[in-house]
């Protein structure tokens, strides 16, 4: 396949910022003066300055999408601002070809007093549309936003969702060669979000796209390349999104607390995962290809429970429940309080690459075998421990692969 043209080329890009406001302003004045004289000298860090972005290099062709990820303050927004031409770099060079569209701020230039219709003209003009273009597209914009009923109402009476709808509907009319997207897309209701993503997918084929997001499934779904920033530096630049996502999680120290709900004073001990103790120090397991997860623990319940089941909910890094294992088929009974109850569970390796958390829930359960009724929670602890899956055969935005029976035959 023929390689498409390079639309974005970034070479040795660096940008510094100042930590102190007063000093920053004074440097601003100095820069104003030196800027007039051309200022060709190499720029070194002055007192109280740091490199917000340091020595970034990459190329992006039409049809490619670069996922730009990193922790807060890693320099993503600064990089976007330079690419968008809002601020100039302190070293290095950016070459961009074609029309640049930026989905960084929706609804720029809106005036709250004016009606939605009037503000379509304001925002579209700021985005670089001509009067003719706007007049041709205004109906399409109103239809896309789905707020025709309120289009002549002042924007200040819009809900934030409606404002975003209108803002995106206008921005969606751009036909850029280079598209820069900041995380603005995580807005609006579900229906509209899907509409936005569809529109972006349409654009993807004909653009070079740079997407900033903290949502790894989104990155994995859309991007072809990835750039991981860490403290302004290029930690990783790759074509393998799986590797990118994995590196991204390594950057973080875990903030997830394991919260316990324990109304009846259940005592849990000897929690073991693949033979290792899960103590107070949160344990992180690394699962290799095809490796199952074996969990065991013992608990003691001070009161009589007739019927209970044990659930091990599994969440992904965004704290979304992705799977549940439960002992429903094997309802336990503890009449004689004080008994030690030993639980053992084997979770098959159906996960794709990523990071997962396992919690423990003990819950009163009645009924069966075709239908169970869940009663009160006896014990619940989210995120008892975490495990990473590496070298799974597949990296996708979907966390679980179901065991399924395929038949693919030639007839």
């Amino acid at each position: 396949m023929e390689e498409k043209e390079v639309l974005i080329k970034v070479e040795g890009l660096s940008k510094k910022f100042c930590k102190d406001l007063k000093t920053s302003l004074w440097y601003g004045v100095q820069d104003l003066v030196s800027n007039i004289r051309g200022n060709k000298n190499e720029r070194l860090l002055r007192d109280k300055e740091f490199w917000a972005v340091k020595d970034i290099n990459f190329e992006l062709r039409r049809g490619e999408c670069l996922g730009l990820i990193g922790h807060n303050g890693a320099g993503k927004s600064t990089l976007l601002k330079i690419l968008n031409g809002l601020i100039n770099p302190d070293a290095g060079k950016v070459t961009i070809k074609g029309r640049v569209g930026a989905l960084i701020e929706l609804g720029a230039g809106f005036n709250p007093i004016l009606s939605g219709r009037e503000n379509i003209y304001n925002n579209a003009a700021v985005l670089g549309f001509s009067k003719k273009e706007i007049e041709a597209k205004v109906e399409e914009i109103i239809d896309f936003s789905e707020i025709r009923e309120f289009i002549d109402m002042p924007v200040q009476n819009y809900s934030s969702g409606m404002k975003v709808r209108l803002g995106f509907a206008i921005a969606a009319q751009m036909e850029p060669d280079v598209l820069i997207i900041d995380e603005v897309l995580a807005v609006g209701d579900v229906g509209f979000r899907i509409k936005c993503l569809n529109r972006i997918s349409d654009l993807l084929n004909n653009c070079a796209v740079i997407l900033v997001s903290h949502s790894m499934p989104q990155i994995a779904r859309i991007c072809t390349n990835g750039l991981l920033l860490h403290n302004g530096q290029e930690r990783l630049i790759t074509n393998s999104i799986g590797e990118l996502v994995e590196q991204y999680y390594k950057v973080f120290t875990d903030n997830y607390k394991s919260n316990e709900i324990n109304p009846f004073g259940i005592d849990i001990y000897d929690i073991k995962a693949n033979g290792l103790d899960v103590g107070d120090n949160e344990l992180a397991l690394n699962l290799k290809k095809g490796e199952d997860l074996e969990l065991s623990f013992t608990f003691k319940c001070p009161l009589d429970i007739k019927e209970f089941s044990i659930h091990l909910p599994i969440t992904d890094e965004q704290m979304i429940h992705v799977a549940l294992t439960s002992s429903l088929e094997n309802i336990g009974v503890s009449l004689n309080h004080g008994d030690d109850i030993y639980v053992k569970c084997k979770i098959p390796s159906s996960f794709t690459n990523g990071k997962f958390y396992v919690g423990i829930t003990i819950i009163e359960t009645k009924g069966g075998p075709n239908h169970f009724n869940i009663g009160k929670i006896l014990y619940k602890k989210e995120n008892c421990f975490k495990f990473y899956v590496r070298e799974s055969p597949l990296t996708t935005s979907v966390p679980i692969i179901l065991n399924s029976n395929f038949t693919v035959e030639y007839e």
């Binding site: 601003g28 007039i36 601020i87 100039n88 961009i96 003009a125």
Partner: protein
């Protein structure tokens, strides 16, 4: 189709001629955006107000009344102005208010656009141009009022009145040019705007706004050197049909402003990225 290529790097190593050309091109190309922004601001301003247009001239009119009152009651004694004093004061304060508004225009308009400046890349010249459009709108109201007063006070029509709008345009150009050079630094330090507004209120006293140039003495010399004098007097003379005495000085000021305007615009253009950087991390 050849794609437009943009290069961002630290130096402005483009030739000054090319930069000037780009800047001028963006200035004139951004006509639609500027008009859009100007109508947006004007509409929003009047939609939220009952007195509306009155605010455009209430402040110069009220300061004119103060002076008319002081003079009529004999509290202060002023030199003969050659025309009815009220019309002299009204024309002075109205023209003066246009000039001061022009000086503040680039910085106030840029400041109001902080939100989009740090988010969206658009031709920044549009902000200056939209400021000029807003000022032209306000000025035309003031000019209309002034012409009404000219007839009301019986000064009557002179052919030179037709040239008066051009004198106002020159005054706007002069003020905007001064403003352009102050804008970058006044966006960094809020002190600058305060210094300018204080400076202008003092400057009014060495400009023949509410009283005429004295016959002799230090004040006469200072006033005659002051470039604002030539603007105010020429505009007023054209409006009232007197002979413009400072026409040469006026033409000189106009020529220099016209030249400096584009330099100022260039300075504004290359300064904006530095300002944006300091406005928002």
């Amino acid at each position: 189709m050849q794609l437009e290529t943009r290069i961002y790097q630290k130096e402005n190593n483009l030739k000054i001629g090319k930069l000037l050309k780009d800047s001028a091109k963006d200035f004139f190309d951004s006509h639609f955006l500027a008009k859009q922004l100007a109508t947006r601001d004007i509409k929003a301003q009047y939609r939220q107000s009952y007195l509306g247009i009155i605010w455009a001239f209430i402040s110069p009119i009220s300061s004119a009344f103060v002076w008319i009152f002081l003079s009529a009651t004999g509290t202060i004694k002023l030199n003969d102005t050659g025309v009815p004093y009220p019309i002299y004061v009204f024309s002075g304060t109205l023209i003066w208010s246009i000039i001061t508004e022009a000086i503040n225009l680039p910085s106030s308009n840029t400041n109001a656009a902080r939100g989009i400046l740090t988010k969206i890349n658009f031709p920044k010249e549009a902000l200056v141009l939209s400021g000029i459009y807003k000022l032209l709108f306000n000025s035309s109201i003031k000019i209309g009022l002034l012409i009404t007063l000219i007839f009301a006070f019986g000064v009557g029509f002179h052919w030179s009145l037709l040239l008066f709008p051009f004198a106002i345009l020159a005054a706007i150009l002069f003020g905007t040019t001064i403003g352009l050079f102050f804008t970058p630094i006044s966006l960094i330090y809020t002190d600058i705007a305060k210094i300018i507004s204080m400076g202008l209120s003092l400057l009014m006293y060495i400009t023949p706004v509410v009283y005429a140039i004295p016959e002799d003495g230090l004040m006469k010399m200072v006033m005659e050197l002051n470039p604002f004098t030539s603007l105010i007097l020429t505009a007023r003379d054209l409006a009232l049909g007197s002979t413009p005495e400072y026409l040469n000085y006026f033409c000189g000021v106009f020529a220099v402003s016209a030249l400096l305007f584009f330099i100022g615009l260039l300075f504004y253009r290359i300064s904006i990225p530095i300002i944006v950087e300091r406005l928002s991390a």
